[in-house]
Amino acid sequence: MTAASLAVSSTDTGDRTRTGRLALILLALLLVLTAIVSLGVGPAALSPARVVEILLSGPRPSEANLGDTVIVWQIRLPRILLGCLVGASLACGGALMQGLFRNPLADPGLAGVSSGSALAAVAVIVLGGGFLDSILGPWTLPFAAFFGGLASTALLYTVATSQGRTAIATMLLAGIALGALAGALTGFLVFLSDDRQLRDITFWSLGGLGGASWERLWTCGPIMVAALLASPFLARGLNALVLGEAEAFHLGLSVQRLKRLAIVIVAAGTAASVAAAGVVGFVGIVVPHLLRLAVGADHRFLLPASALLGAILILVADMAARTLASPAELPIGILTAILGAPFFLWLLLRRRGFSEL
């Protein structure tokens, strides 16, 4: 890989800043290319040149390219943008979570977000939104998913915090317990559901960008954008935290504030992404892990690079989801898990090989 060879060429001083910058530029270019290709993929195939032409001519359709403009601007663009934000939020959230837990195997799901979101969403599908339905209409499900995720994170945070200090290990264990409880309640609701509801639940829990629209982008997008923009400010703190909590404090960091900020950012970003596209697994673990091998563990580069690669990965998975079983659509969570899980196992085996040396 190019990134790996770059890492070797600039390691004379051990300063990997240049490698990191170069990786960010390459990933940004790759993301733009992937997005353009992705905009052209579908039942009505468009060449990348045609996609660029339509993008440049603006959202107002002219006589000559009415159909293509509608396809690109109304159908595919919101989906691509939402996909980018979902992938970026999940991967960047993974990197934040791993930095916070000081463990490369941590995942945004550990903060209790996914389980809480899933429970709330399934509850809405099976039991109905009640009075929320009358106010929010079709937004009831994403709304419930978002606040379900935030609520379970808040609960976990409260359990793990005493005397103003959050015990990260306790939060991890409580997350497992809460996940099991939410899983059981979700299972009970599934048991109560009818066939149609069951199908909705399955599709939602496997994730997908099928519901993407400009409206959904405008509701879920800003939260994800805010979380993504806030995360680089945690980079220096997370770097210090690599040494340990006491050492980070000695280096001048307000550790408790860092933890609180990181948890809020991850919870908001992940909850919004779950609300937008359901539960999409493995992006949060695989992407940061891969980048650490290529650009190192410096969070100033790891966080933005994770966001970029996460977005690329979701776009590629979504292209596959749209084309493999066309005209039907595969849930995107199936693809990320099929690719992600074996890859993750391979990483673990490799890691074991290293530690046994």
Partner: protein
């Protein structure tokens, strides 16, 4: 510059530190000695601001330690940890840079890191993975980081800086043990203050201006090496018969009385 006034720390109903008063002064290298579990590390955590006492006060430059923000503290004192594992693979450069950045000077960062590494005899180690170094090398990388964080022994504001070293020589060979303590002494001679937890009595006596000895959470002795190194103090605290040589004009020197000969239980029980 730092005063402990009658501080007590309890954990699980047991007093780990009880009623200790101690002052660290600029220009002094203070060695903190004592048997395992005497409360040395806890006392250091109190002074570093990591732990708040249940009773008593800690003042740093005249101000209560609890009123300092973490970043203010970081500019006035730095702490060398005993040993630690990194969560992620940083290079040596990246570890030392954390110290330089804490002082928030961004100019000449690369040069500063390599100068710090040179100071601890690790020139050219910047690109190595921290986790692949030996224990002693890792300890010296952290020393380079901590020295970069604190900068000059007396800051531009005229205030002396404080350096905490928790067993800085524990995994070093003898040459580097001396080199590290010489760095600490140079720092204190130039107007800074150093507190080092040391287990080697003779190294402590050779380098420290002042020695504080802890025993079961209290301060058993506090004074110059010559004042403190008496058989009453040391044999009681460490529970071992000792020969103490104190030739005129040289630091005192301690050897266990049973060295090399019969080191049976009776040797402990004589005291």
């Amino acid at each position: 510059m730092l005063q402990l006034q009658d501080v007590t720390v309890k954990a699980g109903g047991r007093a780990i530190v009880s009623g200790v008063s101690l002052a660290l002064r600029a220009g002094e290298l203070t060695a903190l000695l004592g048997p395992n579990g005497a409360g040395k590390s806890t006392l250091m955590k109190l002074m570093a601001g990591e732990l708040a006492p249940q009773s008593g006060q800690v003042r740093f430059h005249g101000r209560l330690l609890a009123d300092w923000t973490p970043s203010e503290l970081a500019r006035h004192r730095s702490v060398l940890p005993q040993s630690n594992q990194l969560a992620f693979p940083f290079t040596v450069f990246e570890v030392v840079r954390l110290g330089v950045e804490a002082r928030s000077s961004r100019v000449g960062l690369e040069r500063e890191v390599s100068a710090a590494l040179e100071r601890v005899d690790l020139a050219g180690f910047g690109a190595r993975r921290f986790s692949e170094l030996s224990g002693g090398e890792q300890q010296r990388v952290h020393l380079a980081r901590v020295l970069s964080q604190i900068g000059a022994p007396v800051g531009e504001d005229g205030r002396p800086r404080l350096l905490f070293l928790d067993e800085p020589t524990s995994s070093l060979d003898i040459r580097h043990q001396i080199a590290v303590l010489e760095i600490a002494r140079t720092f204190s001679r130039a107007g800074g203050a150093v507190l080092a937890i040391v287990h080697d009595l003779n190294l402590a006596a050779a380098f420290a201006d002042r020695i504080a000895i802890m025993e079961r959470g209290t301060l058993a002795a506090d004074g110059t090496p010559r004042e403190v190194f008496t058989s009453e103090v040391l044999e009681t605290v460490f529970g071992l018969p000792l020969h103490i040589h104190a030739a005129e004009g040289r630091p005192p020197h301690v050897v266990p009385r049973a060295y090399g000969a019969d080191f049976s239980r009776s040797a402990y029980q004589q005291v």
